[in-house]
């Protein structure tokens, strides 16, 4: 076990924040699903004491049936093979000691074989712009609790704007399996609490999103009688618990487990709520992260799994997502 000192503590805060940034990106990618759009991330969080960060992640999402409006699970038909692949490019930049901004741009490939229908489409997904405030100055990662103040978590408060740059049902597209975005602006408020007492780490993410109502005059490439549509308010919660192992060369391996729950309220048409259109998904995740000694490179593997059984979701596809990612921090 390494002893804590001020210099070491500064360096360990870096991977702390890096893994946390990864957690945000990963958790949000669990909610893509090509039939509901794809690729947008909640935001990207820059570690403390760093100037900027580049993140590249590749998602492989495989479908395994869906939950209906009653939460009943329905399996896919034999021969169906539905997949979505996403390349997420992210950049975060420090604006001030407590302020940072980020942008995430996904590129999405849909590859679907659905009984008698085969489709392969690709395009930009919905981009995300984020602004985050760090409600702390000092180090929040500790090796030992000596004082109650050592228990105070790192707190991040952020807003994120999802911009509908993807291909949506309101563009010239054949069906929902070909889309790469949802077609709506969304403003999220995010709260992230993270505490590391080496070698253990725990974090809680809460996100509340509000979609902006929009005009629709085209559906799947066909002009229709104009109307207004608004997606329901969105709530996302993720709890993560992890363990960090220091290698002999001071590189680190972090193993984390997570649980996430997403809910969206009912859709509205011309201000009328559409009962029964609510969305829900529960999933668990396993995250492996490898960080170099200098804490400037982090390599990540995330596996997100949704349980193909009744009661684990509503009006949503059941998907498993494997994400491979790499982040680089500039100090």
């Amino acid at each position: 076990m390494k002893k804590a000192n001020s210099g070491h503590c500064v360096s360990t805060q870096v991977p702390c924040g890096l893994l946390l940034g990864a957690a945000l990106l990963f958790s949000s990618s669990s909610w893509s699903a090509s039939c509901c759009g794809g690729g947008s991330a909640t935001s990207l969080v820059l570690p403390k004491f760093s100037k900027s960060m580049v993140n590249i992640a590749f998602d492989i999402e495989s479908y395994d049936g869906y939950w209906d409006g009653d939460g009943t699970y329905h399996n896919d038909q034999p021969g169906d093979d539905l997949n979505q692949y996403r390349l997420n490019l992210g950049y975060a930049h420090r604006l001030a000691s407590r302020w940072q901004a980020a942008i995430v741009a996904p590129y999405v490939w849909n590859s679907n074989q659905y009984s008698g229908l085969s489709s392969n489409t690709n395009g930009l997904g919905d981009m995300t712009l984020g602004l985050t405030y760090e409600a702390f100055d000092g180090i929040k990662c500790v090796w030992k609790v000596r004082d109650w103040r050592d228990l105070i978590p790192a707190a991040y408060f952020g807003v994120a704007l999802t911009v509908p740059t993807g291909i949506s049902p309101y563009d010239n597209v054949a069906n929902n399996f070909d889309i790469t975005g949802r077609g709506f602006y969304r403003l999220d408020g995010n709260i992230l609490l993270d505490k590391t007492i080496y070698p253990w780490n725990a974090s809680l993410l809460f996100s509340y999103g509000k979609y902006l109502e929009r005009d629709v005059n085209t559906e799947y490439g066909k002009p229709v009688e104009p109307y207004k549509k608004e997606l329901g308010d969105r709530v996302l919660g993720t709890a993560t618990f992890g363990y960090t192992h220091f290698l002999d060369n001071m590189d680190t391996m972090t193993f984390s487990l997570s649980y996430s729950r997403l809910q969206e309220d009912e859709v509205s048409y011309d201000g009328r709520p559409y009962a029964g259109s609510e969305i829900e998904k529960n999933s668990v995740g396993l995250i492996l992260a490898y960080s170099t000694m200098n804490r400037d490179w982090v390599y990540k593997l995330n596996i997100s799994h949704a349980f193909p059984e009744d009661g684990q979701g509503q009006n949503f596809p059941v998907t498993d997502i494997v994400t491979l990612g790499v982040s680089h921090v500039f100090r």
């Binding site: 039939c35 009984s115 008698g116 002009p223 104009p226």
Partner: protein
């Protein structure tokens, strides 16, 4: 350092390619509420609202041949709902079955399966999704999909009085469907 520069170049290239490769991207960034539908002449042959649709004959999931004009002689109207058995379709179909169909027992409702490709596959999808109680047409070569310029969720209403298309658009929340069916002659 080389790796870092390379990553940034890849990122910028990816964003640029993405933005340049997406036609109509501003449709969602600046959505319009203008009515851009083309006007059609009422009473002409076609599948848009106000037109008289051509007859068709396709198999249902039980292997029976079902013709549009045969169905119109036995009902006050025909509803076609185009499904690909996805979650959104399921939301529409369950809503239609529970909230709309009981109100209009004289109307013939059809699901139109345009993805399964065969009677056997379509029947399997119908059964596994528990929609045996709604007659399902097998649009194996997507002829109906093309004829009605339809897509996932498109709902078509044809009245039997004048064989006129009264609705051809997304199901949404069914309000338009119910209004259309209530107005049938």
């Amino acid at each position: 350092m080389f790796s870092v520069r390379l990553m940034m170049k890849i990122a910028l290239l990816g964003v640029s390619l993405g933005l340049s490769g997406c036609d109509g991207i501003t449709d969602d960034l600046l959505p319009s509420g203008d009515d851009i539908r083309q006007t059609v002449e009422a009473g002409t042959s076609g599948t848009q609202v106000g037109q008289i649709p051509p007859d068709f004959s396709v198999l249902d999931t039980l292997g029976n041949s079902r013709g549009l004009y045969d169905e119109l002689t036995r009902s006050t109207g025909v509803v076609l709902y185009f499904t690909m058995w996805c979650p959104i379709c399921e939301t529409h179909m369950s809503h239609m079955r529970a909230e709309v169909m009981p109100q209009f027992p004289a109307v013939q409702f059809f699901l139109v399966d345009f993805v399964s490709g065969s009677v056997a596959a379509s029947r399997a999808a119908q059964v596994s999704n528990k929609y045996e109680d709604i007659d399902t047409l097998v649009d194996s070569n997507q002829a109906l999909l093309s004829l009605y310029q339809a897509s996932m969720g498109t709902t078509v209403v044809i009245d039997s009085a004048g064989n006129i298309v009264r609705m051809n658009e997304d199901y949404k929340d069914s309000v338009k469907l119910v209004e259309t069916l209530q107005a049938l002659p």
